[in-house]
Symmetry: C2
Subunit: 305 residues, 2 copies
């Protein structure tokens, strides 16, 4: 089982409107809703790849109930979210029908109480023991200590379970000190962490700060990987047009999938890049186009860097 | 008991953002949620005035559950909403913090099945018998026949219960033919119904189409009333600055409140105008400022028109 942790889950709502015009009224022509937050996106992709996944984190209120109802419909995914008193946040993506341009509205996360955080830690301690790998993904809701990921990384390492950390800012900085097996920052997150906008240098710096391997995601330039086994650059066959939402989460899923399948690094990177490109190509944000994925898999270029 | 009917209930969500800019990402700094749809706004104001109110209509899904949980907290209001399979719509009002300007996103209503519509009619037939007055408010969700209000007006009249209709377009046109006791169109609704932009002429025309009394709401110009007992023009003491959302619903509540209290028309109109102005003045859209209401009440000018 792969364990994904999403402390700041969300109910992701997408509205289609003709064209968003500030200070006017809009008829929403199409509404879709689905479980969100980086870790749940990763879990969904892993489940679609045929892995057994357990998703933990927090869920509360009416929005949390909606989210959990939808999770139960995902084959291969076990819901181990910890209930909280406050309501799970919503995110609203307003898509202009004419251009596909998207305006994003993100609610703040619910405040987590110390008792709820303790209940989560207890659940996590149990779950991590039976996991083949753990992914810690996304932002922290208010009330969760900023060193939360450092603690969760240490627990996983003590249990001998490989742990991937995908977050940003101070939670990433603190988490790194606990020496996760893998981090997957994008160019902005790397620059924020290291102060360098030069990917190769920033990746090296990030590794020096404590990650066993750093996989930097560089958008259309693919992935740059610095690992104890070597350095690679994995590039998709062509730049994809479409919606990049969730492409990074699909890359995380690809890396984890390749890890538990014990693939060599170049194959793990191919899987991550192909899934990421197939996610950009999918009409639904955060889903991947399976046929595209299978075609792309053999066409990713992986070279020693 | 006053019965309010809201066939297209909504969970009204308000987001505060710094400034809405299309095609960018926004952190929502404040989220509020409350039961919405015109009839529920009317019910809330009536309850605040001390009336016993029963609210019927439809509610379904997670949004319907949230809405009902909040209704139970309103003193003096009985929830008699009929459960439906599809989810109650949301409306999202995005308020710019700097200017107070509002961008509105309205989801489509849930599709109502013929069986659900029948269940509603049965519930309504029972409720209307014990009502002192009925208000039929707002739009129709998909699946409800366009002649719905005509049917509901007839049922109320057959039971000898005064009935107010506050809707627009074809449902208003059809509803009028069933001869409601009262309609409260605004200037746009009147113009759409009659083709005339001249309020006095349009109000007369609307009355000729079947309403026993027509109370036209003309924004800052107050209310123009054509009734079997006479014609009046009721004007607030000053033009109010603020948020006009819900001002029309407060006017409906004032008219109903005055009706069941058996006030003469000029006093009913004063109540409606003062409530409407006190709603514009309230910082929260759709609530009224009670102190302002009590002060305004004596200062509304009502003259024979």
């Amino acid at each position: 089982m792969i364990l994904t942790v999403t402390l700041n889950t969300a109910l992701d709502i997408t509205y289609r409107v003709q064209e968003l015009r500030p200070h006017t009224s809009h008829r929403v022509t199409e509404v879709t809703e689905r479980p969100g937050g980086k870790g749940l996106n990763v879990a969904r992709v892993l489940a679609a790849l045929g892995h057994q996944v357990t998703a933990t984190g927090f869920a509360g209120g009416a929005t949390g109930r909606s989210l959990r109802e939808q999770l139960t419909r995902t084959h291969g995914l076990v819901d181990a979210l910890v209930p909280v008193a406050n309501a799970t946040r919503r995110t609203v993506a307003v898509v202009d029908r004419s251009t596909g341009d998207t305006t994003q509205l993100n609610e703040p996360g619910p405040v987590i109480t110390p008792a709820e955080w303790s209940a989560f830690l207890e659940a996590y301690d149990d779950l991590v023991r039976s996991a083949a790998a753990v992914a810690l993904c996304g932002s922290l809701p208010p009330g969760v200590p900023v060193g939360a990921y450092a603690h969760l990384v240490r627990t996983a390492r003590a249990a001998g379970v490989p742990v991937l950390l995908d977050t940003s800012g101070e939670p990433l900085r603190r988490g790194l000190a606990a020496r996760p097996d893998l981090i997957k920052p994008n160019a902005d997150e790397l620059a924020e962490l290291t102060g360098s906008h030069e990917p190769s240098r920033a990746t090296q710096d990030a590794r020096r700060r404590g990650a066993r391997a750093v996989i930097a995601s560089l958008g259309a330039q693919g992935l740059l990987a610095l690992t104890p086994e070597g350095r690679w650059h994995a590039i998709p066959p062509a730049s994809e047009h479409g919606n990049p939402t969730g492409a990074g989460d699909s890359a995380v899923a690809g890396l984890l999938s390749g890890l538990v399948d014990q693939l060599p690094w170049p194959d793990r990177l191919s899987r991550a890049v192909a899934l990421s490109a197939a996610t950009v190509r999918s009409p639904t944000a955060g889903d991947f186009d399976r046929a595209a994925y299978e075609k792309l898999l053999a066409r990713v270029s992986v070279t020693a860097a």
